[in-house]
Amino acid sequence: MNNPPDVSPDPAEHEEYAHGVHQHVMRYIMVGATLLVFTLITVALSYVDFGTPKANIGVAMAVATFKAALVAAIFMHLAAEKRLIYRVLIFTGFFVLGLFWLTFLAWYDPVSR
């Protein structure tokens, strides 16, 4: 999956380039439609009883993560980006997981267990 390349100053090449972008446009519209369909799926699934509230939360978060991944990969062009941006995001991912882990430490209780 590639992003449109940078524009060439040569007008003849630009014609060809514009055609490439045009193909991307179709993909953006398809992704938007997919996101809308999955929004409706999220709403519908929330009225299905998966047994426990935790199971329902898990299902909804799985769908939300899929949608978020689509937005990040296609709209935000992360499917094909420069290495430096991935590096920044790896650090971010590490620290945000650390942040969530700190929250979970709140339930760590070595005394009464």
Binding site: P4, D6, V7, H14, Y17, A18, V21, H22, H24, V25, Y28, I29, V31, G32, L35, L36, T39, L40, T42, V43, S46, Y47, D49, P53, N56, I57, A60, M61, V63, A64, K67, A68, V71, A72, F75, M76, K82, R83, L84, I85, V88, L89, F91, T92, F95, V96, L99, F100, L102, T103, A106, W107
Partner: protein, 291 residues
């Protein structure tokens, strides 16, 4: 001095400057919202049974706002693609639609959703008083089914002066449908279409009430987190709309005429911000409206 590397790549980073700049900013945004989401998880998991309300928000309106935000993410990426293809007119229209989507989203929040909550009243009952109001709570029925018990009666407060006047000893509440027919199995789970308050007036004695008030941030933990996270998200939408308006105005056309790629890059980075705001909403919507 001219800002360098607005369109060409910096040799050391391999990126034009604004691109790396926006991603560093988004990384800090991830930490900002990450902190709030972890607070949400903490507060929600530790909430006593029956103290995390379900079905209080308007799901059809929330779904519509989600769709509007997704549509605006598509139009902003189309606006960028139009600039890449050097079609300024198409860009102008896509940008206008994006701006309108953002304005509709904010208007729905500020004019409808939030004020609607500020009009809604709830009274948390003291544990000893729950039995007295059993006919409205239906807790015996819920207990049999193993569902969380109800500790609050909600609806529209008829005697608003009761909130301030210590000489008034009870609240008169036109209750929500759930308290008018609490043992109906249909009331066990939230509905898609919101139901309006009934005509049934329930008198709740202040002596039986632990705390009561309108659905403002200080009403309970749910509304505290709801208003904080959707409020901060709303500020982000507002920020995005303001930036988009600037890029849509004639002042930005001058940049396009000087170097179309420069405007395309500006739209790309502000679009990246907008997609991030959309991405946050993708999690906010199910967490607050549906679950």
């Amino acid at each position: 001095m001219e800002i360098p590397y607005t369109v060409s790549n910096r040799p050391d980073t391999g990126l034009w400057n604004a691109k790396i700049g926006i991603w560093l900013f988004l990384a800090s945004e991830v930490m900002l919202f990450g902190g709030l989401f972890s607070a949400y998880i903490f507060l929600r998991i530790d909430a006593p049974p029956g103290h995390w309300p379900h079905g209080l928000l308007n799901v059809p309106v929330g779904t519509m706002n989600t769709a509007i935000l997704i549509a605006s993410s598509v139009t902003v990426v189309l606006a960028w693609a139009a600039l890449k293809m050097r079609k300024y007119r198409a860009y102008w229209w896509y940008m206008l639609i994006t701006i309108l989507c953002g304005v509709i989203f904010l208007t729905v929040k500020l004019v409808y959703e939030w004020p609607d909550k500020f009009q809604h009243f709830g009274a948390y009952l003291k544990p000893a008083a729950l039995e007295k109001y059993e006919q409205y709570l239906g807790n015996h029925h819920l207990e049999e089914k193993g569902l969380p018990l109800r500790t609050e009666i909600t609806g529209h407060l008829h005697n608003k002066e009761a909130l301030k006047d210590p000489n008034i000893h009870e609240y008169e509440v036109a209750v929500d449908p759930i308290y008018a027919d609490p043992t109906n199995p249909q009331m066990d789970r939230p509905h898609f279409w919101p139901k309006h308050a009934t005509d049934k007036i329930v008198t709740i004695e202040k002596a039986d009430v632990e705390r009561a008030g309108f659905f403002t941030p200080d009403h309970n933990t749910f509304f505290a987190t709801y208003f904080t996270i959707t409020g901060l998200h709303g500020l982000h939408v507002l920020g995005g709309v303001l930036v988009f308006i600037y890029m849509w105005l004639p002042v930005s056309k001058k940049i396009y005429q000087r170097n179309p790629e420069h405007l395309a890059n500006r739209v790309e980075v502000s679009g990246l911000f907008w997609h991030f705001v959309d991405l946050i909403w993708i999690f906010v919507f199910p967490l607050f409206y549906l679950l």
